[in-house]
C-alpha cells in the first residue's frame, strides 16, 4: 500500500539507522523520498528529524549501583558509553585508553528517564495565553494537527526536566478533543528548532481523550459530544471514515494507476483527495501511529479496548488511567500500558477513585505494563520521586515492588508505549547511551541527577554552569540566580 510504502519505509530505514553502531543516527534519507517542490503527495516525512547527538567522548562510569531496567541491579557496576551507544554494562568493564572515567562510588546509574505524557513546549512557561498551544479546541476531531508544530524549543521547562534526568519525552496535544492530533517524541536536548529535538526513528502517536474533557468543552457549546455516548459515536465516526479512506486509496493503488513510489501520479483526476486528518487515522489503522488515550475510568477504558478491536488497531497506553487497578487484568490481556500518576486524585469526578497503589497493581497483573507519567512541568522533574512513593505505598500494602521493577516504570515501559524500546529505555549494549548518574538511590528524596547523558553526550552536569543549559527565555530573567 502506498501509505505504508511511504511513511513506514522511512520508519524502517531510520530504525535501522538507530540500531547501527555508527556514532550518530543517520539523517533521514530525505533526498531519496522527498517530493519535488510543489508536488501533491501523501507520503513522506515533511518535517524530518534533524537531531544530531551533541559531541561525546567514550565514557566509563564505574563503581556505581546500576539499575539497567533489563535485569537485576549491579552493585559496583560499570557502564561504558561509546559512539553514542551503550557499549558494555557489568561488573568488570575495562576502561578503554581513550575513555573518560567517572568514579561513581556511592552513586547510582539508570537509563535516562522517559516521560510518556508531557506538554512541554506546547504549554510553555510562563503559562500565558500566548503559550496555550496544546488544544486545537475548535473541533472534537482534529487528527490533522501535529503537536510538533506547536512546540516552542525555548520553553524554559525543558532544561528543568533535564535536571531531573529526563532524556526523552512524548509531547502530546491536550485532551479537549476526542482526537487531538499527533504527538511527537523528543530527545530532551536544547535546540533552535523542534526538528533538531525529534527522536530519530520514533513512530508518531495519536492523542485521544475519553470522558469529561471533550464532552465538557463541546457540550458547553451545545454541540456534540455532550455525553460519553456522544464521545464514543465521535471516535467511531472518525475511524469509520478512516476505513473508507484507506480502502479508497487501496483500490486506487490496485487499479494500477498508482505509479512507482518516486513517480508522479499518472492521473490526477482519478486519484482520491488527500485528507490530512484521515491520513493520520489511516496511519493508526495501518499500525504505524500509536494510540495514546487519555482515559480515567475503568468502564471507559474497557469500551475503548472494544473500540480498538472494532477498528483493528491497538491502544499503546491509557494515560492518567486513575482506575486502571480495577481492570489491570484486562489491560494486561490487551497488551496496553497504563500511564499513571503516583497519587493525583479527586480533582474531577472521573479521578475520584485514585489510589496510591494503582501503578503497582497494574504492574503486578501478569504481563502488565505500568508507567509513571507526569502531565506536569513540575512532575516531570521528579518522576523518580513519584515512583518512590508508589514503592513505599505498595510495599506497605503487601504488594512487593523492587527497585529493579520500579525503574522500568520511568524508563523501559514508557519507551515501549512510545515504540522506541528497541532504541532506548534500558542499559543494554547497542542501545542509545541515554543515561543518568544519580547522587544516590534514585528513589530517595535527597537524591539528584548529577549527570545526564543523551546519545553518549554529557548534556547536563549539576553545579557546572558550562553544562547547565538555559533556554533563551531565561536569559537575564532569573533574579540574579
Amino acid at each position: 500500500m502506498r501509505w505504508t510504502g511511504g511513511l513506514a519505509a522511512l520508519l524502517t530505514l531510520s530504525f535501522a539507522a538507530g540500531c547501527a553502531t555508527t556514532p550518530a543516527p543517520a539523517p533521514r534519507p530525505a533526498a531519496e523520498t522527498a517530493p519535488e517542490p510543489g508536488e501533491i503527495t501523501r507520503s513522506g516525512d515533511p518535517y524530518p528529524s534533524t537531531y544530531r547527538p551533541l559531541p561525546s567522548r567514550p565514557t566509563l562510569i564505574r563503581n556505581a549501583t546500576v539499575l539497567t531496567a533489563a535485569g537485576p541491579a549491579i552493585a559496583g557496576g560499570s557502564v561504558l558509553l561509546r559512539d553514542g551507544k551503550v557499549a558494555a554494562v557489568g561488573r568488570d568493564v575495562a576502561a578503554p585508553a581513550d575513555a573518560i572515567v567517572v568514579d561513581a562510588a556511592g552513586r547510582w546509574v539508570t537509563p535516562g528517564v522517559i516521560d510518556v505524557h508531557s506538554h512541554l513546549g506546547v504549554y510553555a512557561s510562563p503559562g500565558v495565553d500566548a503559550h496555550g498551544d496544546g488544544n486545537e479546541a475548535t473541533d472534537p476531531v482534529t487528527a490533522e494537527v501535529w503537536a510538533e508544530h506547536s512546540v516552542w524549543p525555548q520553553d524554559p521547562q525543558f532544561p528543568l526536566a533535564l535536571a531531573g534526568g529526563v532524556t526523552s519525552m512524548l509531547v502530546l496535544p491536550g485532551s479537549a478533543n476526542l482526537i487531538g492530533g499527533r504527538s511527537v517524541t523528543l530527545k530532551n536536548v536544547p535546540a533552535r528548532t523542534v526538528q533538531a529535538m525529534k527522536f530519530p526513528g520514533a513512530p508518531y502517536g495519536l492523542k485521544m481523550a475519553c470522558g469529561e474533557n471533550p464532552k465538557r468543552v463541546y457540550g458547553g457549546r451545545n454541540r456534540a459530544p455532550s455525553t460519553r455516548m456522544g464521545n464514543v459515536a465521535g471516535y467511531r465516526a472518525a475511524f469509520l471514515a478512516a476505513q473508507y479512506y484507506r480502502r479508497e486509496w487501496e483500490e486506487y493503488a490496485e487499479s494500477g494507476q498508482e505509479g512507482d513510489e518516486d513517480e508522479e501520479w499518472d492521473d490526477e483526476d482519478d486519484r482520491p483527495e488527500i485528507d490530512l486528518g484521515l491520513e493520520t487515522l489511516a496511519g493508526v489503522l495501518a499500525g504505524d501511529i500509536l494510540v495514546h488515550n487519555h482515559c480515567y475510568r475503568a468502564d471507559e477504558m474497557a469500551i475503548m479496548l472494544d473500540l480498538a478491536r472494532e477498528f483493528g488497531f491497538k491502544i499503546a497506553a491509557f494515560h492518567h488511567a486513575v482506575e486502571a487497578y480495577k481492570i489491570a487484568d484486562l489491560l494486561a490481556a490487551a497488551g496496553t500500558c497504563g500511564a499513571m500518576w503516583a497519587d493525583w486524585w479527586g480533582f474531577k469526578m472521573e479521578a475520584l477513585d485514585g489510589i496510591r497503589e494503582n501503578i503497582a497493581l497494574v504492574d503486578a497483573a501478569g504481563g502488565g505494563c505500568a508507567i509513571v507519567h507526569s502531565d506536569s512541568a513540575e512532575g516531570i522533574q521528579r518522576l523518580n520521586q513519584e515512583a518512590a512513593k508508589v514503592i513505599g505505598a505498595a510495599n506497605r500494602a503487601g504488594i512487593p515492588v523492587s527497585r529493579e521493577q520500579a525503574i522500568r516504570w520511568i524508563t523501559l515501559n514508557p519507551a515501549k508505549a512510545m515504540g522506541i524500546a528497541d532504541l532506548t529505555g534500558s542499559l543494554e549494549p547497542r542501545k542509545m547511551a541515554d543515561v543518568v548518574l544519580w547522587s544516590g538511590d534514585p528513589f530517595s528524596v535527597y537524591t539528584k541527577a548529577d549527570q545526564v547523558y543523551i546519545d553518549g553526550a554529557l548534556v547536563y552536569e549539576r553545579g557546572n554552569p558550562a553544562l547547565t543549559p538555559r533556554t533563551d527565555f531565561s536569559v537575564g530573567q532569573e533574579g540574579g540566580r
Binding site: 512557561s125 500565558v128 493525583w344 486524585w345 474531577k348 520521586q385 512513593k389 514503592i391 528513589f443
Partner: protein, 427 residues
C-alpha cells in the same frame, strides 16, 4: 439517677466533647523521637499520652500501668504534620462546584466570609490525608469577587463532628497578578483597594455610633466586611497576603509597616531575592518548596532553593501545599527543601512547630512537649523520605483508624477477577 444512668450521661458528655475526652492512655515506646522541642531528638524514647495530652517524653519514662503500648522500636516518632494552607473540608471534587466552598462571587461579602462553619468533618479527604501524618491544617478561602478572600480556620484531622480548632484564624488576601485581576487590572489599584479597606475599617471601628446614625462618609466595603477587618487593623488577626514577585513582596511589607499589621506572606516565590528585608520585618512566610517553574511573569526567579535561602536569611518559614487532596505530600516538599539546602531539622519544624507559632498555637501544638495536645506520628522510617509512611497516627490523644476510602478501594480490587464482583467485597 442510677449509677448506670450517671455513667451513660458521662459517656454522652464525653462523646459530645470529642474523642480526646475518651482517649486511652498510650505509651509509644522505643522509637527515635524527634520532639521538635527543647528535648531535641531522643533515641529509644518513650512518649506517654494521657487525656489527649502529652504526659511524658524521654528515654527513661516508665510506661504507666494500664497504658496501651505502641511499639515504636526501629521507627521514628514526630509531632503531627501541620499544613499552613489547604482547602481541606471545603472541597470534595474540584470540578464539582457544589462541593467547592472556599470562594464567593459576591462583593458584599469579602472579608466577612468565613469557612469554619462550612467545613465538612466527614470529607473523604480527611482520612486520606491523616493516615499519612497530617494532623492539623489551615483551611483558607480564595479570592472570589474581591482581592480580599475572607477568613481561614484551623482544623484538626481527628474524628468527631467538629474539626475546628480556631474558627477565625487569619484574614486572606491576594496582591500580585491575582490581586490586580480583582482590581481592574493594575497592581497600583490592588494596593489602593487594600489600603482603602484597611482605612475604612479603622475609621469604622472608631466611629461605629456615627456609622449607625448614617452620619459617616460612605465606605467602600459592606458593614459585614468592615466588621471582619477590625481585628486586622487592630493587629489582632493576622493578614495573609499572597505575593510572589519581589516587588510585590516589598510592597506588602511596606503595607504591613504602615498599618502595623500582623502580616504573613504566602507564595513568596521570589522571596529569596529579598530575604533580608523579609527577615528584618520579622514577617513569616508560607511556601511550597517544590515550586520552581517560571510559570508566571511574577515568578521568573523561582528556584527549588527558595525555602533554604529564606531560612538561611533568618526568615520564619512554614510549609504550605495550597492543596487539599494531596496535602499529604507536604512531607515530599520538606524532603525536597532539604535536598536543596535546608537543614532536616528546619524542614521538620516548618511543618510542625513553626506553623503552630505562626498561628499563635505554639502553647498547645507543634512539638512533643508535656502538656501539649497529643498529635503524634509513628513512621516506618525517615518521615521526609518518599517511601516512608506512618504506622500509627495519634490526633488529640486518639489513635486514628489507619484506613481511608483509598485503602478500602485498593483492598476491593487487589485480586482480579474474583468469583463475585468487587461490589460484594467488604468493606
Amino acid at each position: 439517677m442510677s449509677a448506670r444512668g450517671a455513667l451513660a450521661a458521662v459517656v454522652v458528655l464525653a462523646l459530645a466533647a470529642g474523642p480526646g475526652a475518651l482517649a486511652e492512655t498510650l505509651a509509644i515506646v522505643g522509637g527515635t523521637v524527634h520532639t521538635v522541642g527543647p528535648q531535641g531528638t531522643i533515641e529509644g524514647g518513650t512518649v506517654v499520652v494521657r487525656d489527649g495530652k502529652i504526659a511524658a517524653v524521654g528515654r527513661d519514662v516508665a510506661v504507666p500501668a494500664g497504658a496501651r503500648t505502641i511499639d515504636a522500636r526501629g521507627k521514628v516518632v514526630t509531632p503531627g504534620l501541620f499544613d499552613s494552607l489547604t482547602r481541606l473540608g471545603v472541597v470534595e471534587v474540584d470540578q464539582v462546584e457544589t462541593t467547592r466552598d472556599f470562594a464567593v462571587e459576591d462583593d458584599e461579602i469579602t472579608a466577612a466570609l468565613t469557612v469554619a462553619e462550612a467545613i465538612n468533618p466527614r470529607s473523604m479527604l480527611i482520612p486520606v490525608n491523616r493516615v499519612e501524618g497530617l494532623t492539623r491544617a489551615m483551611v483558607a478561602p480564595s479570592p472570589g469577587a474581591s482581592l480580599i478572600a475572607g477568613q481561614g480556620a484551623i482544623i484538626h484531622l481527628g474524628g468527631g463532628t467538629d474539626l475546628v480548632v480556631r474558627a477565625q484564624a487569619a484574614m486572606f488576601a491576594a496582591l500580585g497578578e491575582e490581586g490586580m485581576s480583582h482590581a481592574g487590572g493594575a497592581r497600583g489599584a490592588a494596593l489602593l483597594r487594600l489600603r482603602e479597606a484597611l482605612q475604612d475599617a479603622a475609621d469604622y471601628a472608631a466611629n461605629r455610633p456615627a456609622f449607625e446614625r448614617g452620619a459617616r462618609r460612605p465606605y467602600a466595603l459592606s458593614r459585614l466586611d468592615l466588621e471582619a477587618l477590625v481585628p486586622v487593623v487592630r493587629g489582632e488577626l493576622p493578614l495573609v497576603l499572597s505575593v510572589d514577585r519581589a516587588s510585590d513582596i516589598r510592597a506588602a511589607l511596606a503595607l504591613g509597616r504602615e498599618h502595623s499589621l500582623r502580616l504573613i506572606l504566602a507564595g513568596v516565590t521570589e522571596g529569596w531575592t529579598v530575604a533580608e528585608e523579609i527577615a528584618a520585618a520579622k514577617v513569616p512566610v508560607l511556601v511550597n518548596p517544590m515550586v520552581n517553574l517560571p510559570a508566571r511573569f511574577e515568578a521568573l526567579a523561582a528556584t527549588l532553593e527558595n525555602a533554604a535561602r529564606l531560612a538561611k536569611a533568618g526568615v520564619t518559614v512554614a510549609f504550605a501545599t495550597g492543596d487539599a487532596h494531596n496535602a499529604r505530600n507536604i512531607k515530599q516538599g520538606a524532603g525536597n527543601a532539604v535536598s536543596y539546602g535546608m537543614t532536616w531539622e528546619d524542614a521538620l519544624r516548618a511543618m510542625t512547630l513553626t506553623p503552630a507559632r505562626i498561628w499563635g498555637l505554639a502553647d498547645r501544638l507543634g512539638s512533643l512537649e508535656v502538656g501539649k495536645e497529643a498529635d503524634v506520628v509513628v513512621w516506618d522510617g525517615d518521615p521526609l523520605e518518599l517511601a516512608t509512611f506512618p504506622t500509627q497516627v495519634v490526633i488529640r490523644g486518639v489513635e486514628v483508624p489507619m484506613d481511608s476510602r483509598q485503602t478500602r478501594l485498593r483492598d476491593r480490587y487487589r485480586t482480579l477477577p474474583g468469583e463475585l464482583p468487587p461490589a460484594y467485597r467488604q468493606p
